[in-house]
């Protein structure tokens, strides 16, 4: 089985050559998935936070729904988005099928429940812990929210990365709504699927290795942004208000 050694050689030569087609594919992968994750965060984080600290009818049902949607099969999402965006579908006039925008929409639907569910989890735990203290300082639920989000930022970053992991690795949905069109909607995962179908397993695996390297780079970068060292820095700068240094007092009560 020398497919593996061939794959590493293929991955290495892909990296060395770094030809224009490959750069285009990698750039599109990153653009589509990052756009999807960040738009999903804009929707999912407030939604998750509202589910954590809000009390309104149907809240429990909504939590169950969001949690279940974390397991949405990408192919099904792809199919539904295809039917919506198809020229014969309700949103056909927009002409979005087989464009990167369609891929962003599909990935957004896949990623949003993950970010919302994890945000709810994080905020709920923090709210349970600090509710009394924050209330004693005169903060209402909604006024307390920024503080809670700020305090849980490293866990929230993990939620973003979980979403990114799902988006960048997903092939079923982008294949259907993007169409794997060369120089238009071809991304890392659909290229890998294409090379497998051409029987070029070494090149497919080589592209797979590149995909993993990119994921490592993105995760490393975000770790640098949200590293624990910065927590301490921010805390000492923040001083008064309801900074973190006061929380242990609340716990001892």
């Amino acid at each position: 089985m020398n497919d593996f050694s061939d794959a590493f050689i293929a991955a290495f030569s892909l990296l060395i050559q770094l030809d224009a087609d490959l750069v285009e594919i990698v750039a599109l992968s990153l653009t589509v998935s990052l756009t999807a994750v960040l738009s999903a965060a804009v929707i999912g984080m407030p939604l998750g936070a509202a589910l954590a600290i809000g009390s309104f009818p149907g809240r429990r049902m909504l939590i169950i729904a969001i949690n279940s949607l974390m397991g949405l099969p990408p192919v099904v999402v792809g199919l539904v988005v295809y039917l919506m965006l198809s020229r014969s579908g309700p949103l056909g006039v927009l002409g979005l099928l087989f464009t990167p925008t369609a891929m962003v929409i599909a990935q957004l639907i896949l990623v949003m429940p993950i970010i919302a569910a994890l945000t709810r989890q994080v905020v709920e735990v923090l709210w349970a812990e600090y509710e009394e203290q924050l209330r004693s300082l005169g903060a209402t639920r909604w006024r307390a929210l920024p503080t809670l989000l700020m305090d849980g930022r490293s866990q929230l970053l993990t939620a973003l990365l979980a979403g990114f992991g799902r988006a960048i690795a997903e092939v079923g949905a982008v294949m259907i709504v993007g169409g794997n069109i060369d120089h238009a909607t071809r991304v890392m995962t659909t290229s890998i699927a294409l090379e497998v179908s051409k029987g070029d397993l070494a090149l497919a695996l080589g592209l797979g290795i590149m995909l993993v390297l990119i994921a490592v780079a993105v995760n490393g970068l975000s770790w640098l942004i949200g590293s624990p060292g910065q927590d301490r820095l921010l805390r000492s700068k923040r001083g008064g208000g309801y900074g973190r240094q006061q929380y242990p007092a609340a716990r001892t009560r």
């Binding site: 738009s39 700020m150 060369d182 070029d200």
Partner: protein, 273 residues
């Protein structure tokens, strides 16, 4: 607040890029076609030439013939290029498409392990070969995906008067996926399968598979091109689509198809020759 300002920066960057992506509308047409034409590398060979001549970019969505026809019927492609004559004629009869033209042809072959447990190597009667595969209890891998190749295979089983699905899941394996995936399965299992010559010649994971049966008239594999009916869908780029069809069937286009070779073997033969 540094964390939020960084997030804010990335979000706005993301939206800026998204707006950019939505932009960039040059002249292009969408072509729904089969995996065999893309996987063989034909489009990489001929489409740049058409683009250089016409300035029209052809965006290819390569799926099985069945799915390609559905995409075209929904109006999600401007032009359809597939290889199953009866489905093509039905498509035109139902007024989903107009101006069907023959473009090129090659043939199907039955490939199998070099050990050849069914003893069919060198045969030219495809239906007889299939019945020998069944009587030898050898494994046959089917596309099982409503593609042109799958339909061709089902026709051969009918000709052999055999109902292959009685052995489904055992000696008759329906992968339900593309030609490449099916060939990968066949080569991993040392099984027989039906494949179009274009995909076969360009396939890189043959292992111990080799051509067993070829030359049967029933293995003829013609490709046709159809313009999606602009009367049904106002957004169809009929003019650009027609230019592409005219080019494909012109001397220049037919020469481009004929000049696509792997080694010294042509993968497709232009219809006008």
């Amino acid at each position: 607040m540094r964390f939020f300002s960084i997030v804010g920066l990335i979000v706005s960057l993301g939206f800026a890029v998204a707006v950019n992506l939505a932009h960039g509308a040059e002249t292009f047409i969408t072509l729904a076609s089969t995996t065999s034409t893309q996987n063989s590398g034909l489009f990489d060979h001929i489409l740049p030439r058409f683009m250089a001549e016409s300035g029209i970019e052809v965006r290819v969505v390569a799926v099985g013939t069945g799915q390609a026809i559905r995409i075209a019927r929904n109006g999600d492609a401007d032009v359809l290029l597939v290889h199953h004559r009866p489905s093509e004629e039905k498509f035109v009869e139902a007024r989903y498409g107009i101006d069907r033209k023959d473009v090129m042809y090659n043939d199907f072959v039955i490939v199998g392990p070099i050990a050849d447990p069914a003893g069919i190597r060198g045969m030219s009667d495809a239906a007889l070969a299939l019945s020998k595969i069944v009587s030898a209890s050898a494994v046959f891998v089917s596309r099982g995906d409503d593609s042109g190749t799958h339909k061709k295979e089902l026709g051969l089983w009918v000709a052999a008067d055999i109902e292959p699905t009685v052995n489904s899941g055992e000696r008759y394996r329906e992968t339900g996926s593309g030609m490449g995936a099916t060939l990968n399965t066949a080569s991993a299992m040392s099984a027989y399968t039906l494949v179009d010559r274009g995909t076969w010649l360009s396939f890189r994971n043959k292992r111990d598979l080799a051509v067993m049966v070829e030359g049967d008239a029933r293995l003829f594999n013609p490709y046709g091109v159809i313009l999606v009916n602009p009367a049904l869908h106002s957004h169809i780029k009929a003019e650009a689509g027609r230019r592409f069809i005219d080019w494909l069937t012109s001397t220049t286009g037919q020469d481009a198809i004929a000049s696509f070779r792997i080694g010294d073997k042509p993968l497709f033969y232009p219809t006008t020759r």
